[in-house]
Each structure stands twice: as structure tokens, then as C-alpha cells.
């Protein structure tokens, strides 16, 4: 499954995100939702980041896209395609080479027609959405339609890196599978895909690698094929996640 000499598309080293907060007057508080995180995403591969809510998964995505809140301080390095990913470079790449598939319909402007929010309108047709969707407002979309529209926003350009932030919650299983298979297709077409999810099972079905995020950092980076076997993992949190998989109940703790 994993070829040698993979082209590392996104390389994150020692990424930390601190938040400056003021509480009760002038007392400053600094929180560290992401600390010393390392992660690689290769072209043509799909990497799933799994972890509980609040473990910093979305912040990681926002950092790569340069859309962190104003009171966030980011340190560490990010490289895209071998070159440092500076704030300036992000601004030219996002929307064209780096694309975000957001969580839900609230990520679309409620007062703007769907067609105007998808740069390449033909992409709607690729996901089986009729021409009438173009003229619809986000509130008129059903859950499944919204999901496809959001995917279409990413595919309407030819992205090299796609970051999908929780694209499946609230979808019935078959729909969720279909949404993920679209992302898988993008990887097959040569893009690097970073899938952020807390659904480990689904992530295992489509991803090449699983990165487990816990308390703001990646504690385990495993091949998807290794993940169901706790003994092949190092970090206790990752082992616990692995043991919690339904197939491991079946295997009685993961010894094959």
C-alpha cells in the first residue's frame, strides 16, 4: 500500500498554538491547545487525524489554512511541497492548492446563493447535484446535498492538499461512506488528503495512515493496517482507542 519515495506534501514540525486570553481585567492566561506536533501528509495519500473533541484537531487544520483566531500565537514550522509555508504563501495557496472541506452548512454564507460560493459550478454536477442547486440558498439544502456542495467547493479547483474537517457527523452510514469515498478519489487522483474525524472505524476504511491526536499533539502515527492491533502501537491512548474498536472486542483484545 505505501510506496517508497513518497512525495511529502505537507510537513509539520514542532507546531504549537498558544492562546492569549484575558480574564478578570488584565490577568493574562495562556492556553496551549496544540503543542509540539509533528505530522506528514504525502501526495496521493489519505491521512486521518483522530482524537476526542477538544484535542486540537480543527486548530491544526486552521493553522495550515492560516485562519487561526487573532489571539492565537503559532510557533514551529510548516512546509508545503518542500518550501516553508509562510503566512504570505498560505494566502496565495489556500483556495487553489490547499482546500478545506468544512464541517457543515453553517460554513456557507446563509444569504448567498450556493452557486456563487462554489467557484467552478460544474463541480456541482460531478456530485450529482442538479442545476437548480446553483440558485438555492444554503437553508434550502438537505443534509446530504449540503455535504456534496461542501465537497464541491474543494474539488472545484485542482487542489493538491485537501483538508476535510469532520465531514461525516450527522450523516447516515452509507452517506458518510460515500462522502469519504469522494475524498479517497481525490487522493487517488494525486492529492494529499488530511481527514479530521473522531470516527476511527470509518477512518480506517479509507485512510492510508492514522494519526492519533491527544491533548494537543500527535501521540501515534500508524499505518491504517497496523492500527487495529494494539500491540503494534506505542502510546497508551492509541492502544486504548485500538482496543475500543468493535473488531477487537471480537478478537478479544487484539491478539491475532
Amino acid at each position: 500500500m505505501s510506496e517508497q519515495n513518497l512525495n511529502t506534501l505537507l510537513k509539520i514540525r514542532d507546531l504549537s498554538i498558544d492562546f492569549l486570553q484575558y480574564e478578570r481585567g488584565l490577568r493574562r492566561r495562556i492556553t496551549h491547545p496544540v503543542s509540539h506536533l509533528n505530522l506528514d501528509v504525502e501526495a496521493g495519500q489519505m491521512v486521518a487525524i483522530v482524537g476526542a473533541s477538544g484535542s486540537g484537531k480543527s486548530l491544526l487544520a486552521h493553522a495550515v489554512l492560516g485562519i487561526l483566531p487573532y489571539n492565537a500565537v503559532m510557533t514551529g514550522t510548516m512546509e508545503f511541497d518542500g518550501q516553508e509555508l509562510t503566512k504570505k504563501r498560505i494566502e496565495t495557496l489556500r483556495g487553489t492548492e490547499i482546500c478545506l472541506v468544512p464541517q457543515g452548512v453553517s460554513w456557507l454564507d446563509p444569504l448567498m446563493k450556493v452557486g456563487s460560493q462554489v467557484k467552478d459550478r460544474s463541480a456541482l454536477a460531478c456530485y450529482g447535484l442538479g442545476p437548480e442547486v446553483d440558485q438555492m440558498y444554503p437553508f434550502e439544502l438537505s443534509g446530504g446535498m449540503a455535504r456534496r456542495v461542501l465537497l464541491a467547493t474543494a474539488t472545484s479547483r485542482t487542489p493538491r492538499l485537501v483538508i476535510a474537517d469532520e465531514p461525516t457527523p450527522g450523516l447516515p452510514l452509507d452517506r458518510a461512506r460515500r462522502a469519504l469515498s469522494h475524498l479517497r478519489d481525490m487522493a487517488e487522483d494525486g492529492a494529499g488528503v488530511l481527514l479530521i474525524t473522531h470516527d476511527v472505524e470509518l477512518a480506517l476504511e479509507v485512510s492510508d495512515r492514522i494519526a492519533v491526536m491527544h491533548e494537543g499533539t500527535v501521540v501515534e502515527n500508524a499505518l491504517a493496517g497496523d492500527f487495529p492491533y494494539p500491540q503494534r502501537l506505542n502510546h497508551p491512548y492509541a492502544k486504548a482507542l485500538s482496543r475500543a474498536l468493535p473488531q477487537n472486542e471480537f478478537f478479544g483484545g487484539g491478539a491475532i
Binding site: I67, P69, R94, D109, M112, Y137, T153
Partner: protein, 328 residues
């Protein structure tokens, strides 16, 4: 369905006007002002015969119980006759028509200017949250909102009319010029400073609210996504910011007609501008109940119309309400 809504709104307006006029009448009736003493003066009353005073008492309706007077007024009012102003000795509608000509111009100007300027300042401020422009605008708006309208009027009067001499000190037309020789320019020139003052006092409200809404929009998921799609800050503000902020701003501005009305009373007083506000003060202090009620009714209708327009605006402009209401 539509007719039903119109009927409901009409009924609401009738009830509102009834309530407002009754409340206004009640307040006047418990006011300690004796119209005779106020308008004729203690000295003049002292030199009058009993008969003369009795005629005046009848003219001002002093001896008729308040409830009865209200019913008299109401029975005429529903037929469109709002009576005769006791101070101006002309039909109330005629007096109001004349005064409203001045006031409505003043208020319309102030309403539009404060709305447009306040909205733009709010958008800029919200888009630059906690940066220099925001600090200046928010600071200025807070200062203005903490400043009484009459004080601003006095300061403007002192600076621009007295010290700099750019504008006339008061009144709506030049003094000593025959009415038929007053030009439109004269009227505009005299309206400038009061209108400007009234505009300035209305800015802070809309600016601060628009800023809050703008900050919310700028922190929303869809703005985050717009940025992630590569839209630059300018495009985000113009494409998504304005679109989502303009409706609440319009609603607010339509709902704030009452504040412009209230402000105009003070501003007209300071500038001796002969509009509705000044007439209302004169009527209130002089016990001219028919005129006061007429002005009250007109004000209530204006405020009601503003709120109604805000309601209708949403169903016409907001796609979520427009399309949501249609059967699909």
C-alpha cells in the same frame, strides 16, 4: 392569508393609537399646569372681570371632567377632526402640517445621514476589530452615546454658529425677510446645523450595533471558510460582511425613528427651530391638549410605520423568509 396580516396590523395600529392618545391625555390631565395662569398670566387674570375669566375657562375647558373631554376629542378624532389648537387658534392638522414640513425634512435628513454614516463606521470598526480604526470609532461612538443631544446641539451652536459664524444661530428662515421672499436656499441653510446635530446624535447607536453584528459575522464559520477559499479581507467584508449586516442595520434604523423624534424635540428647542418638536413642547407647557394629542398621534404613526417597514423588509429581502414562506 395576506389580508389577514393586513387586518391584524391595522387592528394593532388602532389599538396603539387609542392607547397612546388615552395615555397622553391622562398625563396632561394630571399635569399641574393651569392653562389660564400659564397662557394669560397671573397679573392679567387679576385685572379681568369674573365674566371674562369664565369665558376663558370655557375656552380652555378647565371645568369639564377629563374623561368627558377625552371622549369629546375621540368622537371627533375618529371622524378625522382633530380640533383646533388653543394656542395657535387654527385647526390642529393645519398647524401640524406646517410644522411637520420643517421637522420631517430635518428628521429624514438626519435619519439617512446617521444611518449611512453609522452603518459604514460600524462595518469598518467591526472589520478592524481591536485595531486602531476600531478603537477610534468605538471610542467616538461611546462618547457620543454618553452625551445628551441638547449638549451636542449647544456645542455645535457655540462653535459653528457663534464662534465660526458658518451657520445661522437659530430659526428656520432669516429674520426680517418677508415670507414670500424666503428662498429654498435660505431654508436649507437654516436647516443645516440642526440636521447635522440630529444626525450626529443618531450615529452612535447604529454604529455600535453594526460593529457588534459585524464582529459576529467576521468570526462566523462562513467567513472563516471564505478566507480558507482564498478570499482576501476586502472581498470578505464586501461580499459576506455587508450582505449579512445590512438587514439588521436597516431593522435597527427603522426601529430608531422614535429616537430621532425624541432627539428632534431637544435639538429644535436649542436651535429655536419651529418644527413639531418645538410645537410639542409649547403645547405641553401651555396646556394645548388638542395640538399635543395631534402631535402624539402623528409620532405614534411614524414609529409604527418604521417598525412595520422593518417587518416587511425582512419578508421581502431575506431569502430565508421570502422563499421559506412560499409553498414548495
Amino acid at each position: 392569508m395576506k389580508l389577514n396580516i393586513v387586518m391584524k396590523k391595522a387592528l394593532r395600529l388602532v389599538l396603539l393609537l387609542l392607547g397612546v392618545s388615552a395615555a397622553a391625555f391622562f398625563l396632561v390631565s394630571i399635569s399641574p399646569i393651569d392653562p389660564l395662569q400659564t397662557n394669560i398670566g397671573q397679573a392679567a387674570l387679576g385685572s379681568m372681570t369674573e365674566e371674562q375669566i369664565e369665558t376663558l375657562r370655557q375656552y380652555w375647558g378647565v371645568d369639564v371632567p377629563a374623561g368627558e373631554r377625552f371622549l369629546y376629542w375621540l368622537s371627533d378624532a375618529v371622524r378625522g377632526d382633530f380640533g383646533t389648537s388653543l394656542l395657535y387658534r387654527r385647526p390642529v392638522m393645519e398647524v401640524i402640517g406646517e410644522k411637520a414640513g420643517y421637522s420631517l425634512g430635518l428628521m429624514t435628513f438626519a435619519w439617512i445621514i446617521s444611518g449611512v454614516v453609522g452603518f459604514l463606521l460600524g462595518v469598518i470598526s467591526g472589520a478592524c476589530k481591536e485595531r486602531l480604526p476600531d478603537r477610534f470609532i468605538t471610542g467616538g461612538a461611546l462618547f457620543l452615546s454618553g452625551t445628551p443631544a441638547f449638549w451636542i446641539a449647544l456645542v455645535f451652536l457655540t462653535v459653528f454658529a457663534v464662534e465660526l459664524g458658518w451657520f445661522p444661530v437659530g430659526l428656520a428662515v432669516p429674520m426680517g425677510v418677508p415670507a414670500d421672499q424666503v428662498t429654498l436656499w435660505d431654508k436649507l441653510y437654516h436647516a443645516c446645523l440642526p440636521a447635522l446635530t440630529l444626525s450626529v446624535t443618531g450615529i452612535s447607536n447604529i454604529a455600535l450595533h453594526t460593529r457588534e453584528k459585524m464582529v459576529q459575522v467576521m468570526e462566523s464559520d462562513y467567513v472563516l471558510f471564505a478566507r480558507a477559499r482564498g478570499e482576501d479581507p476586502r472581498s470578505v467584508v464586501l461580499r459576506h460582511g455587508l450582505r449579512n449586516v445590512i438587514l439588521p442595520a436597516m431593522t435597527l434604523q427603522l426601529g430608531s425613528i422614535s429616537e430621532i423624534l425624541g432627539g428632534s424635540v431637544l435639538v429644535e428647542q436649542v436651535f429655536s427651530y419651529p418644527g413639531l418638536g418645538q410645537a410639542a413642547v409649547t403645547a405641553g407647557l401651555g396646556g394645548d391638549v388638542p395640538l399635543l394629542l395631534g402631535i402624539t398621534i402623528l409620532s405614534a404613526i411614524l414609529v409604527f410605520a418604521g417598525n412595520l417597514a422593518a417587518d416587511l423588509l425582512y419578508s421581502v429581502v431575506d431569502p430565508r423568509m421570502k422563499k421559506g414562506g412560499e409553498p414548495r
